[in-house]
Symmetry: D2
Subunit: 394 residues, 4 copies
């Protein structure tokens, strides 16, 4: 069982994370994590904060001389502008009331529901935690999961396929090709033509004081057949992935493979026919299923898509009502991101990676990397025999 | 904490379910459950089995004289044609090999991945559990959850909005109106014009030996503000609902509120502005968020949509490969459902109801209905004061 | 992850259980389970009900032709005198009030706390579930776990070491010797001399209308080194076993190895020195630790002891107060068991077996018995190399 | 749901903890936690490290201006001698092999089982996490739980009742009296006569290079009736408490109320008779049950006892075998604690407090302290009516 908790407020001193259940002997370096933290902060259309704060992680526990111990891994990301927030956000009661309470809930945020649920007068007490700032720690956790995946030859990447109504071409590409193009793009978009139009749309939105959402795709390659299970609803890999994706701030939809497109085609065009070859054994020529059938990985690439709503903090005012005076007001901000879809894609990778790593540990046991690899190798041998092939397929 | 397990194979003797954590004193009758079991079996385009087997539940434990005891509720649904399957599916080893093993995996099913994962030679050992037959028990479990919701004035319904590329009009309707129309429709479709075209499309597919998927929507009305939480990723109500929906056999996508549509509009048109009135307090005039902001219910209707792939068991043959001979063959069946979207919608209601009930118990405590109602009433009084209104909003 | 739920009331129609997470391919026969159900019902000093009802299980799901499918295993034990209780315990509301409510809480039972917690007027609604009758299903679940253990050469047994202040001699014996003697004894006592005195004490108590508690010991042999973990508190094998044992009705204490005896000796006499031999590798000559160090199995026998309070249903009256009239009364019953320690020992085996099986699945993965065995064999090879021995130690 | 994870190695930079699920609005100060950290470090017979390191906590997240936000609470305890360990324990791979590997497993520790399970060559990689140092963070977590309990008038304390075979008198005392005496004692012993003899025994053991274990008792007072549940095995309060206690390093036994003593007395002397008075309603004159019947709190004081083995790190040598050379050696240390039972008692309080707090949140809902109190007050009113008394009993 792999699990994690995160803690930390957007303008608090730091973000914390504890990952419990990582096998012993996994090589993890700060740079592995920082690289993904940097990827999360990139992207055309980001506001000022992203530039101020270059996130870096500290590994505090669970790793010695670069290798995991099997004990919980503690991570920390400091907030760079903590000095400006110390009094306002201090845990210390002596700072009580050193900042004005926030009483004006913003549409599209957790503000109103949170303040009512938790009986809180100062909306800051909600918005500090509901902020997408928290996803920085999830990216760090996901980077650890990616290291585990990497030991088994499993790769993951993401790319943006729509922003503000501009869609990328849907060419099928290998993970390697997608990765190369996405990393080179300011918007993680693999289609250069579309990228230009997306940037133009972002500029328009910026001028209008508006914001944009979009769609990104996650691709996981090299996944062994048989992660997840059909046997009980809460073991299904697609169910777990859907929860992980939907738990990211601002996501409103998630789909696997052809997703909502399956509603438009007959079964004969949707289901992936099964073939066999003497090298890799069973395979498919299409992947409408997105690599998951019956709640299990089927050996093909896992593909997920998520829809992100536009950032709700706009310069263009939205109507709302003060919680104390009950007077209407117009919610607006001075400065903000216009579009965070590329960043969300990196978060999507992270939460997906965590679920894949958890499923690997369930399948192969999880005490040490060496033991996992031994067990994985046995599974490959079994599959080789079972499929009557020259080479093991995973 | 509310939880449940289901058990049972498609052609086994019966399906079992145990729901643990239902508060004491809830009125539950067999008819409450059977009504939903019947709704799951209805729908234009269903094959023969649905007609043979009219499911009925037996409540075996946890209920006395119509009221829950607070102890686990045991449910059972017998398979009507068990006599024909007894030898083939018996737990008794003396029936060993009384049926031919299934060695031909069907595209779009759990067959291939399951047989490889579990090291099973006879694919029947997988397909019996991966079958959507299991959802009958989930509908029964959901019917219990609906009874709990009902005590708090929370209603739920579903309707089909697309089949095989034919889409219903997107008119906004009250839950009551949707329910009335959907229940009167052979396809749970609230748009009579679309329904006709859908039926036509189903007839066409039937003639072609093909199958159709589609999209349905779930609406939950009367949900108090503050179910779920923004505070940790795995407490978010939308994440839990996404997992629940995606865990249903054949689902490939799930969205909340405007869902994937948010990718096409600027933030100023997506976020629901906040208003206040002296009667109900805070409210919205739009509901793009689908009733959930920051992982919490915001008091508006919760709306979810799910995409279902076409049934993978087709009369039209799909290519596959025998697992023993590794020879290709063409997978086809004699007789099957063409479209099960209306049935899936009823299952969607059930799993949604379960998550809502679980969230209610977390919010209000869960020892008895009386205690839950006392606590709920206190929350309403608090909201009334907090919002400065004449009437409590939930 | 292995988990289970039980359901059912003491005088309800039946007991149900669902075990989820058992690997595929495990041989399970009704007789394996019935044998343990019979062992639970044996024992000198049991009252009439045990004789009336010879429990037998039905395997309803998850097993085909004697082998598990990897899907949830559904079990059922019918109550033999259901006909006499049908009206009184029916789920059907039409039987409402066909029995007098129980309003007199019995000392030592869940009655009073349960009725207050759940807001229930009729104490029967509590006592039916709190009854030790429920442990019959746990014994059935444990019998499945024992089958899994058996595949890995792990044995388990129990014996009674004290009843009503009479203690068995503490001779160290092998599991085989203990099992032989305990199975031959009417009280599961391995010390024939003590057994006689225990029976005498039971006769005395019966004459006095009183009841007796006692202590039993569980021994698990052949456990591989490294089940459980030191890395997080809730992964510790001793913690999980303590919870399992304490969750059995009427248990008031649990200890591992020397248990409370460790309070009386210096460290130099408590810790088990470590030796090495070319055959089995590392070993101990003492086992004060009871086979668990640092929350992990260390390869020695796991030994647990549990203290059971006397049955609280006495012929000798105990004072209590009616919940409606608030008048004192004397709680007494006509006929009851005097001592159920031997039965509790069998339940203790069952819940211990479940935790061991769960830990095995965590360590070795859990999709199929074949896969578990492959992984187990790899671990043995690794241990052989690591320990530099001729034979693998587990 | 309340949960927590801890992280950190004994000689690592720090210990971390995240508590998730604490309601909003709870007042928490650093001093509340530091006070318990200090209590854990006190006690006659502690070695040098306890004097060097005066633990203090930092609250990093989840608290603002002294009050909880409902978001995860992040805690940190720095290790004071980190500078001396930095290279040896650094997560940074550039420090690789700057310390000799530990290859000699110590009897009574996790060393041998851990090194084999995790495939680790350097035993330090196990012992750093298995060390009781980790309990400092559990004490910090427990201090937060105590603050929650305090809001509901629930008190908790502990006292030592045996060390090295010297037992305190078993006089029944109120929590207040026990607390006063235990806090004044160098050994948390409420019996001054016994304390002297215990200290004498500790001096003897110190001279002999040996160590001592013992027994402590936890008392929880003011617990409302109805925490935990009889309805399912893993909801039972005694089961959860047993796991929590047994999960503490070096515990070998746990008992509730009369514990193992129940094996020696007939039922008529073990079960607590029930009385009623017009002030407090139902009550008992004895408390053999230790405040828990049927897995639920019954309104009386909860009493638990735990047996701690002697510290396994001795100056007196124990035989063991080097894992690399397989040569025997004698395990001994220069300097160590002789007895840590008083410290363990404080840890026992902490883990007990956590479980009680978790059960309170389950019973009364957990969004804010105000809401919990409202619901608690409603429950008290209900109990008042139900019991027909002048004053609510909890």
């Amino acid at each position: 069982m792999l699990r994690y908790l995160t803690a930390g407020e957007s303008h608090g001193e730091l973000l914390m994370g504890i990952i419990e259940g990582v096998p012993a002997g996994l090589l993890i370096r700060v740079t592995d994590i920082d690289n993904d933290l940097g990827r999360r902060q990139a992207g055309y259309g980001r506001g000022g904060r992203m530039k101020i704060e270059k996130d870096t992680v500290r590994i505090l526990t669970g790793v010695r001389w670069g290798r995991t111990l099997g004990s919980p891994i503690g991570l920390m990301i400091r907030n760079k502008d903590w000095d400006n927030w110390r009094a306002k956000m201090s845990p210390d009661p002596s700072f009580l009331n050193t900042a004005e309470p926030v009483t004006r809930p913003r549409p599209g945020h957790a503000d109103l529901a949170g303040a009512l649920k938790y009986g809180i007068a100062d909306i800051r007490n909600i918005l500090e935690r509901s902020s997408a700032r928290e996803t920085a720690m999830r990216v760090a956790v996901g980077a650890v999961a990616k290291r585990l995946m990497d030991e088994f030859g499993i790769g993951i990447t993401s790319h943006v396929i729509a922003i503000g109504g501009v869609y990328a071409k849907g060419d099928r590409m290998s993970l390697k090709e997608v990765r190369k193009r996405a990393e080179a793009s300011q918007l993680r978009c693999a289609d250069q033509q579309a990228e230009k139009r997306m940037m133009h749309r972002i500029d328009e939105a910026a001028r209008a004081g508006d914001s944009l959402g979009g769609i990104y795709e996650i691709i996981v390659s090299g996944v062994p057949v048989g992660l997840g299970s059909h046997a009980h609803w809460d073991r299904k890999l697609d169910a777990r992935l859907a929860a992980a994706i939907m738990s990211i701030q601002a996501m409103k939809g998630v789909e696997v493979g052809s997703g909502f497109g399956v509603a438009n085609k007959p079964g004969s065009q949707v289901h992936d026919e099964i073939f066999w070859g003497p090298k890799g054994g069973f395979f498919r020529r299409t992947n409408h299923a997105g690599g998951i059938e019956g709640g299990m990985s089927n050996g093909e690439d896992i593909t997920l898509r998520a829809a992100m709503k536009p950032i709700p903090t706009l310069m263009k005012p939205l109507r709302s009502v003060d919680m104390v005076t009950r007077k209407p007001f117009k919610a607006a901000v001075e400065r903000s991101d216009v579009c965070a879809v590329p960043a969300a894609a990196v978060v999507g990778e992270a939460v997906t990676a965590f679920e894949i790593a958890a499923a690997l540990i369930e399948k192969f046991g999880g005490d040490s990397i060496d033991e996992m690899k031994r067990n994985h190798e046995q599974y490959r041998k079994y599959l080789k025999d079972r499929m009557g092939v020259e080479e093991a397929p995973v």
